[in-house]
């Protein structure tokens, strides 16, 4: 197993592998999203309480899920990069940040749009999930701000890896402390305790959307990792040969 992992971790190998991987992730992902969106919008019955507004769940939940997953990528990428000094792992961390921030923003926007008809306001501090999501967005901005303020890539990688590791511990703490905080004040939440009552025809589109979003996230991530790898390896021989070779490595 170790040999496989080492082979994958070698930048030139990963750079080419990722290129072929992107369509294999993007196409099925988009198909799943197409099915999920159609089924979620038109096939699934409306929620007996929230009516059709609950259909926003099909984009809100996947985005919120990905905003967390991207941060995990940043933390694990950082940890592996620090412990085994693997540039590729740092590249994964650097690539995941902007995508994670995009999905966190998406979760916040869809959450507040969903809240408008439910609570009558665009923002309800009482909802613990939205508030935790907002703090997560600040964590992303902090990570990206630190990374952009350090010129030397190697140092930026290591410093932001430490911040991501400290941050991932705090994401958990933020989640529980915000839950405790909102239990003090009777804020309304989007979900009833167990979430909207979901029968099968409602649930399948959601699973499809989550899987579809994850695959699309994988494609976006793979593309950004290629760029990060290319930038970090810009002085190496394999990059020079690739660029000078006739068909290039677009």
């Amino acid at each position: 197993m170790w040999k496989w992992f080492h082979k994958l971790a070698s930048p030139p190998h990963f750079y080419r592998l990722a290129a072929t991987l992107i369509p294999w992730l993007a196409v099925p992902g988009l198909m799943l999203i197409a099915y999920g969106a159609y089924a979620g919008l038109f096939v699934a019955p409306e929620d007996y309480q929230q009516g059709d507004a609950f259909r926003i769940i099909y984009v809100h939940v996947p985005s919120a899920y990905l905003s967390m997953m991207a941060y995990m990528f940043m933390a694990f990428g950082g940890a592996i990069g620090l412990i085994w000094r693997m540039k590729l792992a740092h590249a994964v961390g650097a690539a995941a940040a902007p995508i994670g921030a995009a999905f966190t923003f998406l979760a916040l926007v869809t959450g507040s749009i969903w809240g408008r008809p439910m609570w009558g306001t665009w923002w309800e501090w009482g909802d613990p999930r939205l508030t935790s999501e907002l703090i997560l967005l600040f964590l992303y901005f902090g990570y990206m701000a630190l990374r952009s303020s350090i010129d030397d890539t190697a140092k930026a990688d290591k410093a932001s890896a430490v911040l991501a590791l400290v941050g991932v511990v705090n994401v958990v703490i933020v989640h529980y402390s915000v839950e405790w905080w909102s239990s003090l004040h009777q804020g309304q939440t989007l979900f009833k305790e167990g979430g909207p009552a979901m029968d099968a025809s409602m649930l399948y589109p959601l699973l499809a959307m989550i899987l579809g979003f994850t695959l699309v996230f994988g494609a976006l991530l793979a593309r950004r990792i290629r760029t990060e790898v290319l930038y970090r390896e810009r002085r190496t021989r394999w990059v020079r040969e690739m660029i000078l070779s006739p068909e290039g490595g677009k």
């Binding site: 969106a37 919008l41 038109f42 409306e46 009516g51 059709d52 507004a53 259909r55 926003i56 984009v59 809100h60 985005s63 902007p98 995508i99 995009a102 999905f103 923003f105 998406l106 926007v109 869809t110 749009i113 969903w114 408008r116 008809p117 699309v216 494609a219 976006l220 593309r223 950004r224 290629r226 760029t227 290319l230 930038y231 810009r234 990059v239 020079r240 660029i243 000078l244 290039g248 490595g249 677009k250």
Partner: protein, 53 residues
């Protein structure tokens, strides 16, 4: 067709789906542009080195 109206929540539901599509598209386009830009920068530097040799 009234299905589109989403029980007069249409504006909220469609704006959410629209924004989602927009964010995914923008992320993809920005990722592609960034890759092209980095690739071109490296290409220019390496080609310049080659000429000088």
């Amino acid at each position: 067709m009234d299905a589109m109206a989403m029980g007069n929540y249409g504006m909220y539901v469609w704006s959410c789906f629209g924004i989602t599509l927009a964010v995914i598209l923008i992320s993809d386009v920005r990722a592609r542009l960034r890759h092209k830009q980095v690739y071109r920068e490296i290409e220019v530097r390496i080609k310049a080195l080659e000429e000088r040799k």
